[in-house]
């Protein structure tokens, strides 16, 4: 949202001033909602939910690559948020803190739903899920093409890619979250990029015009 406002600032000055003042108002409202939610106000908590749940759902969806799980875990995130909101001390932006809460909930969900062989011996990577029809490209027109391809990445590569490229975490942070070496996080990220490039190319993502221009 901030980046959108910044983009507006560069284009139209008059509108930018308006947007900036709107942002202050929105921040003030959010602070008020947080304060009231901390005191147990469900209506204030609903305002926070309304403002943030789409972003959190996007995070859940990208990490889990499954609509039903993403919806369930998104709900779980807000239940955990309700319980832990008093721990938010305003040292970071609320959205940043909320994303870290959500990331932990998603990772906890993934841990709970793994079998022991995978957990102990870190067996996961059978390669991208290209062969399995159940995880083939979805027809969901609401998803971007890249999101559809992200969903087909192997789990570790997908998690690292989403956390690094989309959520903006550093590899050091990701290595702690996923209990892997920093080098592994980096290599999974490069692996994810290569797999995405391959699958995008294979699915004729590059337009014919672009190919013609290149030729």
């Amino acid at each position: 949202m901030d980046s959108q406002i910044n983009k507006t600032t560069k284009v139209i000055d008059g509108k930018a001033l308006f947007s900036a003042s709107n942002r202050h108002t929105a921040d003030d409202s959010e602070q008020a909602w947080i304060a009231r939610a901390k005191q147990g106000s469900q209506s204030a908590f609903y305002q926070l939910y309304e403002k943030h749940h789409r972003q959190i759902y996007a995070l859940c969806w990208r990490m889990l690559a499954d609509k039903d799980s993403a919806e369930d875990v998104c709900q779980e995130v807000f239940v955990v948020l309700w319980q832990k909101i008093n721990n938010f001390r305003g040292e970071s932006k609320f959205s940043t803190w909320l994303h870290s809460v959500a990331t932990n909930v998603v990772l906890g969900h993934l841990r709970k739903h793994k079998n022991w062989i995978q957990r102990v011996f870190s067996i996961e990577d059978q390669g991208p899920n290209l062969a399995e029809p159940s995880v083939g490209l979805t027809d969901d027109s609401t998803l971007t093409i890249l999101d559809q391809h992200i969903a087909r990445l192997p789990e570790r590569a997908r998690l690292v890619f989403v956390l690094f490229a989309v959520e903006g975490y550093r590899h050091e942070e990701i290595s702690n979250m996923l209990k892997m070496a920093v080098g592994s996080s980096k290599s999974q990220y490069h692996r994810a990029r290569n797999l995405l490039k391959e699958s995008l190319t294979a699915s004729d993502f590059i337009s014919i015009d672009e190919e013609l221009n290149n030729e």
């Binding site: 759902y57 996007a58 609509k67 008093n86 890249l146 209990k179 290149n214």
Partner: protein, 191 residues
């Protein structure tokens, strides 16, 4: 010649897809809208759950386990330091009262040990025979401390007959070790 051209085309294609990928990442939407209404479920759940009081300390799921291990160690150290039976045993010429058959106690210790090993084996089987070296070093240390404590108590029991307190301590240590193992393998589920 045609092979050379196709390789060039492939390289160009790779470059393009790298660029396209970067653009696509930048254009990923921040938001997605869930199909179903999630709020009603959240509302029901939060009606049943109270909010946590803020804590100064950083929460750590292993604190209870660590405390259990520490308590066991403290009890063991205290025992060896202050136990009258061990101190008395070293005094020459001291007549022991109520001396029971050492075979009975040894049998009991052996039985406890076998029982403990069986429980541990069952526990590990239920978690798919994980190896300890997959756990973080701090947790491996906790486990080793408990195992060392258990071993020391067992050795002490073989030379110190008729010692109900030491037997209880052995039982307590074994149970703590099992509990810690269970907690660790539940919590440290490697992704």
């Amino acid at each position: 010649m045609s092979k050379h051209i196709s390789q060039e085309k492939l390289a160009l294609n790779n470059d393009v897809s790298e660029k396209v990928l970067a653009e696509q990442i930048a254009q990923l939407p921040n938001e997605m809208t869930p199909e179903r209404d999630l709020w009603s479920g959240i509302e029901r759940a939060i009606n049943d759950k109270s909010q946590e009081i803020p804590t100064q300390k950083k929460s750590n799921v292993f604190v209870p386990s660590a405390w259990a291990a520490s308590i066991a160690m403290v009890m063991l150290v205290s025992w060896f330091t202050f136990s009258p039976s061990i101190n008395e045993k070293n005094k020459p010429g001291l007549v022991k009262v109520q001396k029971e058959s050492p075979i009975t106690q040894r049998q009991l210790v052996d039985f406890m040990q076998k029982n403990f090993q069986q429980q541990k084996k069952t526990l590990l089987v239920s978690y798919g025979q994980p190896t300890v070296d997959k756990l973080p070093p701090a947790m491996q240390k906790e486990l080793k401390q408990l195992a060392d404590a258990r071993s020391s108590i067992r050795k002490a029991l073989l030379t110190d007959e008729n010692n109900a307190d030491l037997l209880n301590l052995l039982d307590f240590t074994q149970q703590q070790e099992l509990k810690l193992l269970q907690q660790l393998y539940r919590q440290y589920q490697v992704i």
